[in-house]
């Protein structure tokens, strides 16, 4: 029986050199739920997201203290970095398909993890494009460059690409920040669909978006989690003054 929490974080502190970007983070992320991270710019929510697949490792002088436990395994001590990133996928703020064909974009991850058989790759590509609700739009032009797709399609392609390595968790860093409202809605519908199989953690600047799609919401401020609760409760009746000030726009 799988435990209810997919990630458990205990006393996480993160420093960029002398600057403390995250302070005493304790949070449990629930399985098959959408967890939204909100807060003003520079509050540490994206930094926090990037500790979960260790993308912060790319930045020099980053020091991480504390435990990040993914299904009982400490991701900073007990797991190979590439395996971790296979299990924890990521979708970025700006759609970033590789400048290659649609097919190659989706097949990129599986190939990196050693899948060579063309038939299997074909199947993976089709399956994941379907999961990302993009298959019908691109099935006749899989060999065309991904750069020819619209912004919303590109972002769904990036989601398909992330799904293709069969992650358990998908991290999304403001995935609709550069999309129009219609494309945004499509991504939101998709997220709602995906949470049946995946645990999703999404950073968003839009409180309305957090409200629409997430089950749980964490409010970050100055590198700390101020409040973490059910989304409805956080937006209708926050318990902390700082949260109230932020969500009602009377902040700072």
């Amino acid at each position: 029986m799988e435990s209810r929490n997919v990630i458990e974080i205990d006393n996480l502190n993160l420093f960029y050199g002398d600057f403390q970007a995250l302070e005493d983070i304790n949070i449990e992320i629930e399985r098959n739920k959408v967890t939204a991270l909100i807060g003003p710019s520079g509050c540490g929510k994206s930094t926090f997201l990037r500790t979960l697949n260790r993308m912060n490792d790319l930045i020099e002088n980053t020091i991480v203290k504390g435990d990040v436990i993914l299904d009982g395994v400490d991701i900073y001590k007990e797991i190979n970095l590439l395996d971790l990133r296979k299990r924890v996928g990521m979708v970025f703020q700006k759609p970033n398909p590789f400048p290659m064909s649609i097919y190659e974009n989706v097949a990129y991850g599986p190939k990196a993890h050693g899948v060579k058989n063309k038939a299997i790759l074909d199947k993976i590509v089709e399956e994941n494009l379907k999961k990302a609700a993009l298959w019908d739009e691109v099935k006749n032009r899989l060999d065309k460059s991904a750069m020819g797709l619209s912004g919303g399609q590109q972002q769904r392609l990036c989601i398909a690409r992330a799904l293709a390595v069969e992650p358990e968790i998908i991290l999304m860093d403001e995935p609709t920040a550069s999309l129009d409202p219609i494309a945004t809605l499509k991504i939101e519908e998709l997220i709602n669909e995906l949470k049946k199989k995946y645990s999703i953690i999404i950073v968003t600047h839009s409180m309305q978006q957090a409200g629409r799609i997430s089950d749980k919401t964490a409010f970050f401020l100055m590198g700390e989690i101020i409040e973490y609760s059910d989304t409805t409760k956080l937006f209708s009746n926050p318990q902390k003054k700082k949260t109230e000030d932020y969500i009602t726009g009377r902040f700072g």
Binding site: E60, L84, G89, N96, Y108, A112, V165
Partner: protein, 275 residues
């Protein structure tokens, strides 16, 4: 009202100056081009291009082949080293003293006059390593000379690859090497190619450095350890020794054509990258 008029006329004067500068520059370029081609064309024929330079024959075929050979070999030597250096600088090196030293060296290399490369090549490759005047000495010298061009353009091409591509690849669990080989380099490809072609242009026009290292034997070099005269060296000799100005002009025309083709290729590639 007068102020306005003054301002208008001031603007007109500046505008006129800018336009005339542009016209003068273009005019001079055209004039050189037409002057060379006009002087070169009468002497230009298939026999001139495809015959040897010995006895009665005054063809430039050996020089063309030598030039192409020098370009090819130099590229083969310089490109892998240049690209690897650029990859190291952009993708691996942390900003520290080593990188600064390498960057500084590259800048320094770019600023050295080619005759100094020639002297160095002559002393080091020709004499100390005893390669004599040969294609090998010449191409090694030219490789060092064009390295800065290749490193700089490759570096720029790599830097202009959005970091989102790298993050996208790494986030899928791909290794760093795979990310560089499969995503970053292909994305930077046309920028890198542009750099290579610019390097080729520089090689084809180089005289001093190659003259001092590859010698001036007007025959097709039958191995990299043989001496061979390139088009630019040939032209230099024809003009300097006063052998034949018609031949010099004709050779110049061919050289001009070669440079033109390379430049157009570079243009097309960089335009492709933009789109």
């Amino acid at each position: 009202m007068i102020k306005l008029l003054l301002r208008n006329s001031k603007e007109k004067i500046i505008y006129g100056l800018i336009i005339s500068s542009a016209l003068i520059t273009m005019g001079i370029l055209f004039w050189i081009f037409i002057f060379i081609v006009m002087n070169g064309m009468p002497h230009l024929n298939l026999q001139f291009i495809f015959s040897n330079y010995s006895g009665e024959e005054t063809g430039i075929f050996p020089m063309i082949i030598n030039t192409l050979m020098v370009i090819g070999i130099t590229i083969i030597i310089a490109v892998p080293i240049g690209i690897s250096t650029a990859i190291y600088l952009v993708e691996y090196a942390k900003n520290g003293r080593v990188v600064n030293v390498i960057r500084f060296s590259v800048e320094l290399l770019a600023g050295i006059p080619s005759i100094i490369y020639g002297l160095f090549g002559m002393v080091f490759f020709v004499t100390i390593l005893n390669f004599n005047w040969s294609i090998l000495s010449g191409t090694l010298t030219l490789s060092i000379m064009i390295l800065p061009t290749i490193i700089r353009t490759t570096e720029e091409a790599l830097i202009s690859v959005p970091k989102e591509y790298r993050e996208g690849s790494l986030s899928l669990g791909a290794s760093k090497i795979r990310t560089i080989m499969k995503v970053v380099l292909p994305s930077a490809q046309s920028g890198i190619l542009t750099g290579i072609i610019l390097g080729m242009g520089r090689i084809s026009g180089e005289t001093a450095a190659i003259y001092l290292t590859a010698g001036m034997v007007p025959r097709i070099a039958r191995g990299i350890l043989e001496s061979g005269r390139t088009l630019s060296v040939h032209m230099y000799l024809l003009a300097k020794e006063g052998i034949s100005f018609e031949e010099a002009y004709a050779t110049a025309t061919i050289l001009l054509l070669l440079t033109l083709i390379l430049n157009i290729m570079a243009k097309i590639l960089s335009r492709n990258q933009e789109s």
